[in-house]
Amino acid sequence: MSLEIVVDRPKTLLPTPTHYCPGCGHGVIHRLVAEVIDELGIREKTVVVAPVGCAVLLYNYFDLDAYEAAHGRAPSIATGCKRVRPDLVVFTYQGDGDFAAIGTAEAVHVAARGEKITTIFVNNAVYGMTAGQMAPTTLVGQKTTTCVNGRSAETAGYPVRMSELIATLEGAAYVARVAVSNPRYVIQAKKVIRKAFETQIKGLGYSMVEVLSQCPTNWHMTPLESTKWVEEKMMQYYPLGEFKVPKEA
């Protein structure tokens, strides 16, 4: 008797044992991106630019040509690549430190130029790889290793809402915020990621998907508690939704 395969690993994903922590959102997000690439049939012409942060090793998971960027510079590398080879589909995958702190200039200007690339921006409100420091997206009151009593607005200011910021730029064609904390959000996230890639393929401009993700390890929570925290705390400050949709002809 032969068994029918109902669910398989996307072709774009390699059978790599994960280095991400239990409950981390990166694995789900990787899979969603890989599924979209498979479904669009673009694996052989897609290039990914890895960030600095937990996802620096993402080329171990994606069966794609890849660059590994310096911290915050992925949009510039993607720009250089896309300008040379406009037929490629180029995307950056960046964390909150990468996209909203050290690489803010690059993030703003890649959108302002309307560069025909896509950014998957993973916001988990903390620095993961360096083990739990404050991020530009850390919520006021949230405890990290560099704000042990909770982020103080007085001394550390306020978390940055990148989607809202990027959506103000004319060159940004598609900007949306999603989450991966439960199956309903995961299904929605995949649709949005697909739309972002389609925006690029149609040449409509820059597309960015902010994914609210959970970091149980550095939040000092169980995976279940962390998904609840995304929904109860993060979504209050970072509402889900589409902030900019392409003006299609």
Partner: protein, 355 residues
């Protein structure tokens, strides 16, 4: 024969790059090299290339990295403070072994400094500049024509060694207008770019990376890059010897200062003082052997720079105490005049010491 055109060094470099096959330029305006980016902005679209005025030098150098990784001939240009901003990316490009050409039209520093010519980024250019063990290949033109020739050659050199090549000029080389002729190198070095990122179609994926968490592998990577550069040290040394055959004193200078030294040498020879010039054209690799040989023949070498003594250290290393090494330098954007150099040589002849 191609007809000569009257151009600034900056314009000439931009045109030479295009004729050498450069198709992408990413940069940020800074004086005194703006003519390069300005010309690139309208010339590159004419030849099917691309230009971006980036939001910063930091971003520009990563656009260079992206374009180089995608297989294009690509360049950027800047001046001292802007080159400092690019050092992070230059280190990554060297680590990833990607070819590109970087022009630095040096201006007076440190800090914001000034906008007049200087040679005070010699250390930064020749010793690495950014973090980690690596070197740029550094070429220093002394005329607009040489800037043209070296720029064209720089792209071949970058491809051959898969290493960033720097054209190290100064504000004077960039701004001065001279007649130039564009003659692309007769044979371009054919290099197969089997590392280019272009989509993993019918082949395993390619990764352009610089992170090696395993120290054993990272040491191996460092040694591979070092061995590669050893090849450049053996094969890519360039210098000019000017009236050194009978010289009793040798002046060491590069770029703008070398031109001024030639005027000083003519005057000194009329006075009967036998002076010659050793002019490094490649600053890395440095023509150490030429200086070692000179040290065996003359008792005095005078190093003249628009710095407080940077190339001086390489001359001292090469001559290893076997001759007197004197130094004269002007900084801040001031250029040593030929009569200042004449006076320094006269002092040495009289038995004085200048450094």
């Amino acid at each position: 024969m191609a007809k000569k055109e009257f151009m600034s060094g900056n314009d000439a470099i931009a045109e030479a790059a295009i004729q050498a096959g450069c198709r992408f330029y990413f940069g940020y305006p800074i004086t005194p090299q703006n003519e390069i980016g300005e010309r690139m902005s309208w010339r590159l679209p004419q030849v099917g290339g691309g230009f971006i005025q980036a939001e910063s030098e930091v971003s520009a150098i990563y656009m260079v990295m992206g374009a180089a990784g995608a297989g294009a001939r690509v360049m950027t240009s800047s001046s001292s403070p802007g080159i400092s901003l690019m050092q992070e990316g230059i280190s990554y490009i060297a680590a990833a072994e990607l070819p590109c050409v970087i022009v630095n039209m040096m201006r007076g520093g440190p800090g914001l400094g000034g906008i007049q010519p200087s040679q005070s980024d010699y250390f930064q250019a020749t010793k690495g500049g950014g973090h980690g063990d690596y070197h740029l290949l550094v070429l220093a033109p002394s005329t607009a024509q040489e800037a043209v020739n070296l720029t064209m050659f720089a792209f071949d050199l970058a491809d051959k060694y898969r290493n960033p090549v720097m054209i190290l000029g100064d504000g004077n080389i960039g701004q001065m207008m001279e007649p130039v002729e564009f003659k692309p190198p007769e044979k371009q070095i054919a290099t197969e770019k089997d590392w280019v990122v272009a989509g993993a179609k019918n082949r395993p994926r390619r990764i352009i990376k610089t992170l090696y968490l395993n120290p054993v592998i990272l040491e191996k990577r460092n040694l591979e890059i070092a061995r590669k550069l050893d090849g450049a040290v053996k094969n890519e040394i360039r210098f000019e010897s000017y009236m050194t055959d009978d010289a009793e004193i040798i002046i060491a200078a590069y770029g703008t200062v070398a031109r001024i030294a030639k005027t000083a040498i003519k005057i000194l020879r009329e006075e009967g003082i036998k002076v010659g010039l050793l002019r490094p054209i490649s600053l890395y690799p440095f023509p150490s052997q030429a200086f070692a040989e000179a040290a065996g023949k003359v008792k005095n070498i005078l190093v003249v720079e628009m710095s407080l003594g940077q190339m001086l250290q390489d001359v001292k290393l090469a001559t290893c105490g076997r001759t007197n090494v004197h130094f004269y330098g002007r900084v801040g954007g001031l250029v040593p005049s030929f009569d200042e150099i004449v006076a320094q040589v006269q002092k040495i002849v009289k038995g004085g010491k200048t450094a």
